[in-house]
Symmetry: C2
Subunit: 461 residues, 2 copies
């Protein structure tokens, strides 16, 4: 792999000049303990049997835990001087090995850069290692909350979420992270012998979105917020999954109904929703939703015209110690199933906005029990549509690719979650040109998370 | 007109049994002063030369001004007993004679039913005669404001706005009044000898939306609110109107950019924007916008990629004594022109969401200076699109209908504002069946605002 050309592994031992590195970063928390290194070299890639085989043996040589940006810069400088790869680790809640050091070297754990720098109405500036849950806890007393969060809100960090570049609970209203306006600014440290600090504002901040930390070490982010609402968690049960999706779509398209989450899940997925099992009737598909309290009556009015039955309704209480409804949506659905059944994996889909319900019915008919669909309604490029993370009974890589092809034949786009590179995981099979060019500027030697941006070729070694 | 069959005009004088009516409503404010009656029998129908001729001579026989719902019921009972038509008057800011008594009789002025009944987070319950401006003033200290308001916010009343059933500033986010969720409940009084009070909740409340007060006398409304935001008023100037629309569309489709208003106006319309004239460069089309403060930087990022130049940027100050930017959009644009030039009138359009910019260019090429376009981006049925209220150099009714036909040929739907009936003004040329049926229930004699619901035939006389 050309990216590795610059790396200075010892020819015999395969190891990097760690002693020199550690001497240069003395005073900064560092661990070479094998168990700790292994633990902090992983994320949730094991949802994919394919990635599991590919990534399970990747382990960092050292994990460093800087306390501030100055320490980040010292680590970056030392990595640059000694040509050691550096992989940034956030909350490690990703599923594609985003923070797995494929070439070993240094894992930079951001957990201690977790300060909220300031808040303004509708805006917050935070260090990259702040947990989403903690950010909400800090901003809610001021009347604001993050616009969106992954289902892993309680452990995910903002830097990792932005570097993953997806969306989540809240994207039904605001779209994904990459919609203009959803990242206001990003501060980063370059990977050079004399690291620089850069502040990317406005659209430029998108250069670090969905780049897995390959385009600079994000140290701080300025994020737009949404006004706090009292959300009501709701579960609605349907005999038929397509009716469930149809009703979800009706609510999705009703711009007068305020919502943060709309996720139809096909039976038997709800069988695994332990915390809400009593609200998930046997054999029924369910819609999990978070509805603004002032819109609940309107929601129920439309529900009365559907074939659904409300089985759960309670104010969202986003407190530790209670399993939230949103932890049964997005890729947490897969996790809930995996807790009981290790024989499944998943796909990532984008349904066509103009024939969404038909596409759901069509792919549903193709695979029966082998694939259980659940959708998350989201806005994308100004249109309401839905992504989906079907849970698949795993047989083989070949069968998985067969299923993907069948989905694509029905007009459902696939972002393959069983690959580690940005390009292969993209619906467009390419990395954004801007990001590629930008990488030359901020990581000329290709030391940041090598192996993830396949198209990158270092110009200097 | 069959609706008038039930009316008890005296065969000689053409008058109603007013003395008996007045005796029955004694103690309730009433005026038979000719100047007052004339003044309170009009709205802004004079924007249309066609409606002006049709409506200018319609005058109520008496104007009554109840103080509470009990008085409304006494008036309704008296009208029913004596078969006198009753036309409800709100702020009279409409443009189609919504509150013009086409058969004379009683005008019921709602101005004194203006109390805010209660507020909850995201909800307000108000009497129908409350002014939109006053509602916002009452709810803003609690962190909420109306989701949408017409450009006539400072004089319009909530009952009239809902009975008009359109949308306004805010509809770019929440859609129009008729989107599910935008009216939570309505209370109304029936027109019968023993009037009943009805509470319509949820979707049922839509029975009074865009019914011009023909389906009961609205006395109170429960409306959903939006969280207060700091809005920034912005004007952006463009050499070319189509570029202006294109940029507006970009912002409209960017779900991460919070906005309340996006209105591109073609030169020479901005020449008449007196209060903002210094920010409207000679010969340029302008986009007037209200952007959430936290989204302003993102807005400017996208602006830098367009051909526009920002000429004005300041926090919205919605205070009396200062002309707000929004009073240059929606049908206030027409008013600004009419102040200088009485030779114009207007149309109402809905542009096709899937070829919006093309349709603007196409109809623009057809009429040159004869028609000046301005658009207001809105959500409709879950899609982002734009309505438009082009200002037309008036020649004749025939020419006006020619222009309408040409717009429709380009896929731009017309809601004709030069007619007084609900059916003719609708894009579908019909009244909602539910409303028609409901009218039989609440106004069996057809005494409410007769002449406006053309399809209605009273079953009982």
């Amino acid at each position: 792999m050309s990216q590795a050309a610059a790396l200075t592994r010892d020819a015999q031992t395969g190891r990097y000049p760690l002693d020199e590195f550690l001497a240069e970063v003395s005073g900064i928390g560092a661990s070479t303990d094998p168990i700790d290194r292994k633990r902090r070299s992983r994320d949730y890639f094991w949802y994919s049997p394919i990635l599991y085989e590919q990534l399970k043996d990747n382990v960092a040589d050292v994990v460093v835990t800087p306390r501030d940006e100055a320490e980040v810069m010292r680590v970056a400088a030392a990595c640059a001087r000694h040509r050691i790869p550096l992989t940034v680790r956030g909350g490690a809640t990703g599923n594609y090995g985003q923070c797995v050091p494929m070439h070993g070297g240094v894992v930079l754990d951001m957990a201690q850069l977790n300060r909220v720098e300031w808040q303004k109405p509708g805006l917050v500036r935070v260090q990259a290692g702040a947990k989403l849950y903690d950010i909400d806890a800090a901003t809610r007393p001021n009347g604001f909350e993050l616009r969106m969060h992954p289902s892993t809100k309680r452990s995910a960090q903002i830097g990792g979420f932005v570097a993953g570049g997806s969306g989540g609970v809240g994207s039904v209203t605001f779209g994904g992270m990459r919609e203009p306006g959803n990242i206001v600014a990003a501060r980063l440290v370059t990977l050079e012998t004399s690291p620089r600090v850069m502040e990317l504002r406005g659209d430029a901040a998108q250069k670090i979105s969905r780049a897995y930390g390959t385009t600079g070490i994000i140290t701080a982010l300025e994020m737009p917020l949404a006004p706090v609402q009292q959300w009501i968690d709701v579960i609605v049960a349907f005999e038929d999954f397509v009716d469930c999706v149809r009703f979800g779509h009706t609510i999705a398209m009703a711009d007068g109904i305020v919502k943060k989450l709309l996720s139809p899940a096909q039976w038997p997925l709800p069988q695994h929703f332990a915390a809400f099992r009593s609200s998930c009737p046997e054999g029924k598909s369910v819609l999990s939703a978070m509805i603004g309290e002032m819109s609940l009556e309107s929601f129920e009015t439309l529900l009365a015209l559907s074939k659904g039955t409300m089985t759960y309704k309670a104010p969202s209480e986003d407190v530790l110690g209670k399993v939230p409804l949103y932890e049964h949506t997005w890729n947490h659905t897969t996790l809930q199933v995996l807790k009981n059944d290790r024989g499944v994996t998943y796909l990532q889909c984008l349904y066509p906005h103009d024939r969404l319900v038909d596409a759901v019915a069509e792919v549903g008919a193709k695979f029966g029990d082998e694939v259980s669909q659940h959708l998350e309604f989201i806005r994308l490029n100004g249109y309401m549509t839905a992504s989906g993370i079907p849970v698949v009974r795993y047989r083989s890589p070949e069968r998985l690719y067969e299923i993907m092809a069948a989905y694509e034949a029905s007009g459902v786009m696939i972002a393959n979650p069983h690959v580690v590179t940005l390009e292969d995981g993209s619906r467009y099979k390419r990395v954004d040109a801007d990001q590629l060019g930008f990488k030359h500027e901020v990581d000329p030697m290709g030391l940041l998370n090598p192996g993830k941006m396949r198209s990158f070729q270092p110009l200097t070694v």
